[in-house]
Amino acid sequence: MKIAALCGLGFGSSMMLKLSIEDILKEEGIEAEVLSWDLGSVKGQEVDIIVAPQDMKSNLESVETKIVLLKRLTDKEEIKEKVLKAIEEES
């Protein structure tokens, strides 16, 4: 399974998000590849789940991949709950 974390440039907050998701997956014993992307890279590439901040909602309307929107990029509980739910639904 491939999961992409997004931010505007693709290496700042998305990188932190990627590391948080990797920690969570490790704790849960789930195997998945996590990438950090910029918003512009979303189209034309395939992943199973996209994790993005809430304020990117309108930019992602035409994207058909499963999207997880986060209110707080720093809230580990929120990330864990939403990402694990998405993984369950996708697998």
């Binding site: 931010c7 505007g8 440039l9 693709g10 290496f11 700042g12 907050s13 990188m15 932190m16 590391l19 950090s36 910029d38 918003l39 512009g40 901040p53 809430q54 304020d55 990117m56 309108s58 930019n59 986060l70 209110k71 707080r72 990029l73 720093t74």
Partner: protein, 438 residues
């Protein structure tokens, strides 16, 4: 053999590869991951170099158009692009006088000093914004290099300043970050700190935090600016076409085709220079992404182990969700700020930084969020405006007086620094060096 080794180790790409290698080994990664990560880091540097060539290749004719168009009216006119990644990337890739390796070593030793300082001082933040770690290491290394110091002293002094910067900046931003987020579990790590704090201070003077911008209704239509490819294209097409019109107005279509566009029509030429610029930036950013992709996780892992109770200091977008309206107000305020500062700079004969969407969105956006936290909607607009208005003077000052030395001689022609956290300490150190006759 040893010559080859010495030559290899002096390559900036190899130094960064070595830093990644150490980081990957220290994290206890498997052999395959270590090899992959090291190669990717080296490739990242090379990809970045390709992007730099594209960016500079596109800037030169755009600069030329402005100079042809405006110098007949204002003889001192000079235009440049303000773009931190561009400056550090170009200097690192041209690697004049071992500066590329100095930047890479400063990145490593600056971070080690940061970890030591965070361990022994009460400032328990771990600075984790990868491109900003690299940019500040670059800015300080370039600064000390410009005084003619040896590689050793350049790296030593730049690392100390860099380490202090990364430790202190998140701590001084934290009181406002607490107001913005209502929590205290992460800090702020971006080169914008000083102007953001100015925005917060002005916000406090002129507004009321209760009158928050977040209660307003703000149109969502400006959201497409979040996509870098679009926002850079839009602003650069505007900048490039305006430059072409000015040049055509002064020298006429034929001279334009002869001197600037190599026979292409002015419209097509200007349009595609803007798009080449954007394409170059996107390639460059991809390189930066790979360059820091392996190093930042290592810094994080090691730092967390060595600094008990540390808080991560994170990149600016982590505060965006707390104040989306302020972000949009900042974008507007910042654009206004740039468009007022630019003619003033041109009239007083200072070099002009061409408009930047990255600054208007990321920097003025954050300035507005800081301003809103202390001064509500008035603070938000003022914060966004001030960031770019004052910022443009700082950026121009550093470029005009060559605070960081002669950047074009180092390979970064037509490029200048943006972030105040590099420019302001840079100006102080530059002034001190001047006093001592360096």
């Amino acid at each position: 053999m040893s010559d080859i080794l010495v030559e290899l180790i002096a390559m900036p790409a190899v130094v960064l590869g070595i830093i990644a290698l150490i980081g990957l080994i220290a994290q206890g990664k498997k052999v395959q991951a270590i090899v992959l990560g090291t190669v990717k880091t080296v490739l990242g540097v090379l990809i970045m170099n390709l992007g730099i060539d594209g960016v500079i290749g596109a800037i030169e004719p755009i600069q030329q158009m402005y100079e042809e168009g405006i110098t007949p009216i204002l003889p001192d006119f000079q235009a440049f692009v303000t773009f931190d990644e561009g400056v550090v990337g170009a200097v690192q890739s041209a690697d004049v006088g071992q500066i590329g390796a100095a930047i890479a070593w400063t990145m490593l030793f600056g971070y080690i000093i940061h970890i030591l300082l965070a361990r022994i001082t009460p400032f328990k933040f771990l600075y984790l914004t990868g491109h900003m770690i690299w940019i500040h290491a670059g800015a300080f290394a370039i600064l000390f290099h410009s005084f003619g110091l040896s590689l050793f002293w350049t790296v030593a002094l730049a690392s100390i300043v860099d380490g202090i910067y990364m430790t202190v900046a998140p701590a001084i931003a934290q009181p406002v970050i607490r107001k913005i987020t209502g929590q205290d579990d992460f800090g702020f790590a971006h080169g914008q700190t000083l102007l953001n704090l100015l925005a917060a201070w002005v916000g406090k003077l002129i507004g009321d935090p209760e009158d928050t911008a977040e209660k307003l209704k703000v149109p969502e239509g400006l959201n497409f600016f979040r996509d870098m490819a679009i926002s850079i294209s839009v602003i650069m097409i505007f900048v490039s076409l305006l430059g072409a019109l000015l040049a055509v107005g002064q020298i006429g279509v034929e001279a334009f085709m002869e001197e600037i566009s190599d026979g292409q029509s002015w419209f097509v030429f200007a349009l595609f220079q803007a798009l080449y610029f954007t394409a170059g930036v996107l390639v460059l950013l991809q390189g930066v992404r790979m360059l820091i992709g392996e190093i930042v996780p290592a810094f994080k892992g090691i730092g967390e182990r060595l600094i008990p109770g540390s808080k991560p200091a994170l990149d600016v977008p982590v505060i965006f969700p707390y104040a989306p309206n302020s972000l949009v107000i900042g974008l507007i305020g910042g654009t206004v700020g740039q468009f007022i500062a630019i003619p003033i700079l041109a009239l007083i004969g200072w070099p002009v930084a061409l408009p930047s969407m990255i600054a208007a969105f990321f920097a003025s956006g954050a300035g507005a969020i800081f301003g809103n936290a202390t001064g509500g909607k008035r603070g938000a607009f003022a914060g966004g405006f001030i960031w770019c208005f004052v910022g443009w003077f700082l950026i121009s000052f550093a470029y005009r007086f060559e605070v960081f030395g002669d950047l074009s001689a180092l390979g970064a022609s037509g490029l200048g620094f943006t972030v105040p956290d590099a420019i302001v300490p840079g100006i102080f150190i530059w002034l001190i060096a001047k006093l001592f006759g360096a």
